[in-house]
Symmetry: C2
Subunit: 209 residues, 2 copies
């Protein structure tokens, strides 16, 4: 219990700092490989076009690969390597931002470690929590991993382009997601074809701190 | 450290019990939705044909859905619901088997909770550890989640039928998996087309306790 209380205090500190800087902060959670980094790659050019300054904190067990993918697109990105820990916590986020200048950042996205369970228990100071699912993973995940859906504000169903090749019932999935959380805002996307990307990006870029 | 030491003691107890019963025990680990249950669904009829008695312990955060899928095929299956914990441990496995009669079981498969990080740290008393990957998740996972590959004996690359529709380089993936663990035995499968299923099942059914 102490771990969570301590984390909550640090999350509130983060939230105050984000508010002062005027940054709208998002925590993205999914299974490994659902498409979190791919979605941010699609978002980045749209932020530039809309004049919204994007900053990304990447969380992974090992490597800088995800931050490198984004830096190649000109995105300001910081990589946290947990070297074993299965989730980000508020302290890790505060450390990663220790030297950063957040003033002028409009949108701060924290891509959490690929894990549908542990990250859901740790507030990072975000205003919005997005859970990303993929049509390749099966439509039963909202039932089997309910906390990820229950504690999210938005659910993106990604890889819609694979529907013809997998056993996945979109209506069944969305009904299960709504049962876990009736308030959930649902988007359907494909990072391959671009389906639904504009709708999600436009919605996200309209959020204000 | 105490948690791991305590778990190790219980894992050794499990292992003794498995040896006495003559059961060969496998711990299957993957991200959510890589295809663990689907692979067991493909294995089950082949065990019947080969006269090998299969017993499955399913581990999930919530629901009996995976055990129900297997019971529908006539497989003896026990479902553990962790109600939050992100991995199985040796104590959970011992509890699940408390009333079970293992004598006569040839092959005991423990399908772990869908999580590529935490389950790798907990020995359950198994003789073999299989990590399942999917072509839909990206070919960078052995680099980003190295412990899952380093601590495995076998790696199954599943969903080979999706290769034409995803960015996935099989050679790059397998080279990365071998870098994490040079001893790794690699299989390529598709639960949809049946590709590679006989080769994996035949290899597994030949193992002896
Ligand atoms: N077909 C298809 N593939 C996609 C789509 N989005 C992402 N991918 C692929 O899915 C794989 C994983 O994508 P990532 O963006 O790296 O996923 P991630 O959630 O960031 O992964 P982690 O950071 O390891 O948790 C890559 O091979 C992508 O090319 C999509 O909409 N359709
Ligand atoms: N195209 C394709 N889909 C597959 C294959 N194997 C499994 N699937 C699909 O992938 C989804 C997830 O499969 P499961 O077997 O439930 O995966 P799992 O690893 O047991 O999932 P969890 O128990 O939740 O961790 C389902 O929709 C399956 O139909 C395959 O080889 N090819
Ligand atoms: Mg990523
Ligand atoms: Mg399963
Ligand atoms: Zn964890
Ligand atoms: Zn864990």
């Amino acid at each position: 219990k102490n771990v969570y209380n301590r984390n909550q205090e640090l999350a509130e500190e983060n939230r105050r700092r984000f508010q002062q800087a005027g940054a709208y902060v998002v925590n993205m959670i999914s299974s490994p490989g659902s498409g979190k980094t791919s979605l941010i790659e699609r978002l980045a050019p749209r932020c530039v076009a809309a004049g919204r300054r994007l900053f990304v904190i990447e969380g992974d067990v090992e490597t800088e690969r995800d931050a490198d993918r984004l830096r190649r697109l000109g995105v300001e990105a910081v990589q946290i390597q947990t070297h074993g820990a299965c989730h980000l916590d508020a302290a890790a986020v505060a450390r990663a931002l220790a030297g950063a200048e957040l003033a002028g950042v409009d949108l701060l996205i924290i891509e959490n470690v690929g894990n549908l369970i542990c990250p859901t228990g740790f507030d990072l100071g975000e205003q919005l929590r997005i859970v990303v699912a993929s049509t390749a993973e099966g439509d039963d995940k909202p039932l089997k991993y309910p906390a990820a859906y229950h504690k999210a504000d938005v659910c993106i169903l990604n890889k819609m382009d694979l529907l013809a090749w997998v056993d996945f019932d979109v209506e069944r999935f969305e009904a299960a997601a709504r049962r876990a959380n009736a308030q959930l805002q649902l988007f359907r996307t494909s990072c391959r074809t671009g389906e639904g990307i504009d709708a999600w990006c436009d919605w996200l870029m309209q959020r204000r701190a």
